[in-house]
Symmetry: C2
Subunit: 237 residues, 2 copies
DNA sequence: GTCTATAGTGCGATAGAC
DNA sequence: GTCTATCGCACTATAGAC
């Protein structure tokens, strides 16, 4: 386990995925404990199982027709829980939305902090950051897709959290590029614009999944392609 | 005029914008004439003026809170037309959606065919295609943003048209890259993945406008940056 | 802990006055 | 050509049976 963590995302997408699945249950347990005032269910096992089902079903339905358009009747039918049952897990459709966004943010934070090492050299840090980001969004694709496409329907404070997350990711890349520039390993005219371009190509992976799936391009293939492309951009000379 | 067209988008964003505004009115006139069965208004001047207002208002409202969430009552209040008046320009909310999408598609087609020349050398074609695409999405940013973010709420046939447009743009870049490869001017391992990456960076311009605006980056600055970046990627050696 | 039945709200769409 | 008034419907949310 310690070795696996030390290797970052080097063990490939499957090892990464195995760890993520465990984290999802953990985080739903946390959500259950934190919201025990509004959640009327008392048995933790039942509640966590249903919360995972509610979140997954909501993401699936919303990603094919939008969260606003998805009625709680749809969610009830697809999840197998009645309207009444649903309302013992959240007090409004808005609260359901907040719970989902918060679950995703916690997952993201947990995984990113686990896989980023300050003491690696810039070039390794750059390729690790790209690969980890791709793996993360591959495993949590429905959530990232959801958070991105529903962002404009959110309330102010929720929107700000989405934007903050976006800029935080970009900042990771800006810092790596500037560190590489200072060390003379990279020659990157505008770290800000370059980081922004990297971010755009990373986002394409979870926003246009249909395209890559249709073309039989795996996340590892895309990672290799993207790392090479970025290294060409930042290479001196 | 002939010179302007011959120079493609070389005259900068402002010349481009001037031409586009004229086109919008033309296209609304076409829409009016084509839909005269469902549009109850008879005076062309009145109808076109109101159609432009309806489209603009719908895009503005939808881009801040989503098309589904925007009620026709909202649209009525913001546009200054009553519910009854609105319904003399379209027969359902769905038809309004179709009219907007069709208006944008016509604009896109008209502008792209006007600015792309088959007989230029690959390198010039590549930079012209990037610049023209950026100018187009700059001038019609609300429409592109709308078409992208509402795509999943559309019906099957409308969705297919959005995807077809997406792939058509990508094809333009694949063809240019392959032509350059064949001529020995480019050395691009995977034209498909590279075109897809270029597309992702082009889309970032209209999807993340808030970010570029906040950083005071103009469309011309972004164009110069992106063209240089892409030329680095495809350069041999 | 989960269900069914229903109250209350706001929507898309239309009819008819002006 | 545009308005106001209104209908029927689908939604969120809740109350009370089991």
């Amino acid at each position: 386990m310690q070795d696996k963590e030390k290797n970052g995302s080097a063990n490939g997408i499957e090892a990464f995925r195995a760890e993520a699945v465990l984290s999802i249950e953990e985080i739903c347990t946390e959500i259950f404990r934190r919201n025990q005032t509004s959640i009327k269910i008392k048995k933790e096992a039942v509640a966590v199982k249903n919360l995972v089902k509610i979140f997954d079903t909501t993401l699936a339905l919303s990603n094919s027709k939008g969260f606003q358009t998805t009625s709680l009747r749809d969610l009830s039918a697809a999840s197998g829980l009645s309207m009444g049952a649903l309302y013992s897990y959240f007090s409004s459709k808005d609260e359901l939305l907040e719970m989902i966004l918060s679950q995703g943010r916690q997952m993201t934070r947990r995984i990113l902090t686990r896989y980023i090492y300050a003491d690696d050299p810039p070039k390794k840090k750059l390729s690790d950051a790209i690969r980890t980001h791709l793996y993360l969004t591959e495993v949590m694709q429905p959530w990232f897709y959801f958070a991105y496409l529903e962002a404009k329907n959110l309330k102010r404070d929720q929107q700000k959290k989405v934007i903050a997350g976006e800029l935080a990711t970009e900042k990771i890349f800006i810092d790596i590029l500037e560190e590489g520039n200072a060390a003379g390993i990279f020659a990157c005219d505008s770290p800000v614009l370059t980081a922004s371009a990297i971010k755009a190509m990373l986002q394409d992976w979870y926003l246009k999944r249909w395209k890559y799936q249709r073309r039989n391009i795996s996340v590892d293939t895309y990672a290799v392609f993207l790392i090479k492309l970025v290294e060409t951009i930042v290479a001196p000379g």
